[in-house]
Symmetry: D2
Subunit: 294 residues, 4 copies
């Protein structure tokens, strides 16, 4: 898929946006950036002095992932000053498209006020599934780094069989773990069995919980509560992958001396280039879905 003549602005973000510039440039797109003052970027992008200049001639404006951590200031890891999210919208015109991650209700309301076409990249299913790959691989890396036993041959539990659970289970099995997967629905449990993992219905989790060397949680509600934590092996390692506040009673885990590793936002941390490639593909897919032909 290659779109002729479109150009991009990349405004703020972290390593992923910097590497995204590399992909855009290497595919022949023109790129303007703003919000990367103290970091090296691809020499073929155009660094603009002002937001207005950076955005003026582009078709697609790429914001950070997440767009903002407080609904007001743009997330821009490598920028000395501050940029207001709304300042972007002020200088955009109605033919331009805004794409970024985690566009909250407040930000969406703001976009609508300005009449701007926008896409929340994190809401795209294709991005979400593909992001499960660096997330799962990062979870495996963290598990390896924080343990003195191998994953191969150890008893692992994946809590939840959504996007991340599916991909992580596949990899853990592939690396030789003795793998169980917890799920609620009979349908998911049947899939789990068909893939050769041990299915554990939620109702039976407590009675097996004392077996595991590693527990990977993908469920964003309190599944590892004090009753379950107290039964676990003391040297069991928990990797928390669910979004905040996660599924682990951290206070109790702490008291019991059970290590909980924070696996938030893994793609950008462990595989920024792969994460950038996923963003790149998703941007083009999203643009294609909009049916925009310039």
């Amino acid at each position: 898929m290659k779109f002729e003549k479109i150009s991009f602005s990349v405004i703020g973000g972290d390593q992923r946006q910097i590497k995204l510039c590399d992909y855009l440039i290497s595919h022949g797109y023109r790129v303007n950036i703003f919000g990367f003052s103290n970091v090296e970027v691809n020499p073929l992008v155009k660094k603009s002095e002002t937001l207005e200049e950076a955005i003026k001639y582009s078709n697609i404006i790429i914001g950070p992932i997440p767009c903002s951590q407080n609904d007001r200031d743009l997330f821009a890891k490598y920028y000395g000053g501050k940029v207001k999210v709304e300042d972007i919208f002020k200088v955009m015109n109605k033919h331009q498209i805004f794409m970024a991650g985690r566009l909250t209700d407040k930000i969406q309301k703001n976009l609508t006020e300005y009449g701007i076409t926008y896409i929340d990249l994190l809401e795209r299913e294709d991005m979400a599934v593909r992001n499960a790959i660096p997330t799962a691989e990062g979870a495996i890396q963290y598990a390896m780094e924080n343990s003195d036993i191998t994953l191969h041959g150890s008893k692992c539990m994946v809590l939840g069989f959504g996007r991340c659970g599916k991909v992580l289970a596949h990899m853990l099995k592939g690396i030789g773990a003795d793998l169980s997967v917890e799920a609620r629905s009979l349908q998911d449990l049947a899939y789990i069995e068909s893939y050769g993992y041990k299915p554990v219905p939620l109702g039976e989790l407590t009675s097996y919980i004392d077996q595991y060397d590693f527990i990977f949680n993908t469920i964003p509600s309190l599944i590892l509560d004090s009753k379950r934590l107290i039964k676990m092996k003391e040297d069991c390692l928990i990797i928390e992958l669910a979004s905040k506040p996660g599924g682990v009673d951290l206070e109790t885990a702490n008291k019991l001396g059970i290590k909980v590793i924070d696996g938030q936002s893994l793609p950008g941390k462990v595989a920024a280039r792969t994460a950038a490639k996923i963003i790149f593909d998703t941007i083009l897919n999203a643009y294609s879905d909009l049916g925009v032909i310039l």
Copy 2:
């Protein structure tokens, strides 16, 4: 899961129902049967002379899968005479539950008229997913039997990534096929990639179609039409797994000399005992879901 004091009637069917009797008996349930005149069955079941007698004392009445092939006569492979489906309902009481497969609108209407609680086993997701295992394994067996090359190392395509497509793809990859999977949604294509298969969007299928040694179809609409068939290798083998009328233009395939193997109803054909075990588990799950405690 074990339910005390409940008993079963098994009325008609094929090898799967006969082996189902073995599972019921070995788990300590009482079983009455009717509709198996010319076949050997477990000696611990009670063969009744009449429908009424066979059904009278049971809690659950198990019909065949499919229940009927013409909406009137019961499917009973090993019975000399004929049994009307409705005759079963006539002798059932309101505390009894009827479970069978493929309960058409007409049969369901009839059941409602008699005020009977019923479950279509084929509509249960847990049964459908688990049935994908013998279906996929049967498809692999048929492919092996009808070809003079190995699946290992050959180019295979699975059309569709639903229940059967997922499980079949997993097995084909496991046996060493060079595997592509066709799907429509970007989400499914992302999963396909994450599992290590080659993703082929529907729109690109035609341009790759000349590569495959084996094509397994799980899509119940005309996907292998004359335009695609004409581009295929002459010695490509098609295994049709979608329900009638399937996804292959049989007339054109026939003219072109492309072999199409009918893979309908594989579980009962290639692995009747496994199929019976799946029915057994599903019956108990369904009964449990009804929340009936006697």
Copy 3:
């Protein structure tokens, strides 16, 4: 790898030799054949009337696999008459090379008397390993055909971890079997564990033997003797893959009603075209190893 100007004679054999002709022709080699009177062959080969004519102008003479079943007559499934193996040697000259399978001591002695350079294809490690693929896949096909349960989820045992054991284990695991592998050496048992199969030392085989639904034997000595057979499940299926006399006490198995499937010579039976491709590659590898440049 492509050798210019060399030509082949294919003398006797079965479907594999017929398909071998297809490979030779499609790679641009000239092929003379003899010993295929009542079967259709590739129209581009030259059918000769006499052995002498068939062999005269070729560089490499391909015999059957096995070359002979009685050390005297050539194995030629599709030939009305009889051909003596020695008659081939009589018409060969010293620049020609003879390649066939299972060249017994007697045949080798005969070849040496005639001063002929020869290669036993079955003694080549590359052929032996690659033949393990159709053998393993055939074993899986036979297991599927002779059982009413799926391999997926069933308890399988592979006896022996040589070429065939390794490849078969890999495929059975890939298809979802619950797999154990028996071996003697601690080294092999360590590999078995590293690949995720259950290692069973020979000394512990007897105590586990009552668990298996399928046993695949690759060991050519009496491993399934009466003491072990008597402990096995009555409906366990044995697939015998070891060369004659195999590893099963057939008389006892027969008395006990345990089914034993003969899996001799699977490549030619279940995947003749793949088998021919392996022969084709091996012939060229062997020729290359000889360092013959004409």
Copy 4:
């Protein structure tokens, strides 16, 4: 396997020996140690003041892995002072057995002079194969840590198909890498193909070398020389697993800016507890093989 009444001395070493003590104690063996002054150890072991006292009552004396780094001083990471290897032998009697790793010719000569029965644990095939598991997993961890792309979907090359190559290839494939394996023999190349990896004969390595994102070397001779390095991707990551001096021209790699990660002695570094378990099992296997029954 459990031996009654035998007792152990553990003299010097690193974390693996400390965790080995845990395994020995938890299996009910008596353990004396020496050479662990500034580190915490299992409270149930007996810390002796002198070598003589530590060794006196034991059947098996466990030395470090490697035994020494200079053929004279014992390798003892957690000991303030120095211990001469020979001092151990001086206080041993002829009924005691010495087990350690990498017993050089010089050390073996010394052992023979003292008439001591000894075993080099690193020479045991079972230990070597099982050590390949933490080595492979450590290699994967190092690759993940030193790259900004995922292994999943990236082009990986494993040079060599010995113990470590086999296990590493299996895991990389399991995690979703696009995997090639280099080997010399046609037999190994046939196995590589049968396992679904891309086989690359040594002779063709140079022409493919520009493709890989990750290269894992297990060959202890100069395979990645300047001619090959110069063709590689600049951001290719090399993980060196072969024993010193390894297979990479480090000077050229350095000049070219190609990162080479040292993967020596991974088991003790990344998975000390698993490594200790392997040592524990190997000690008992070796003892059993000696046929010593006290």
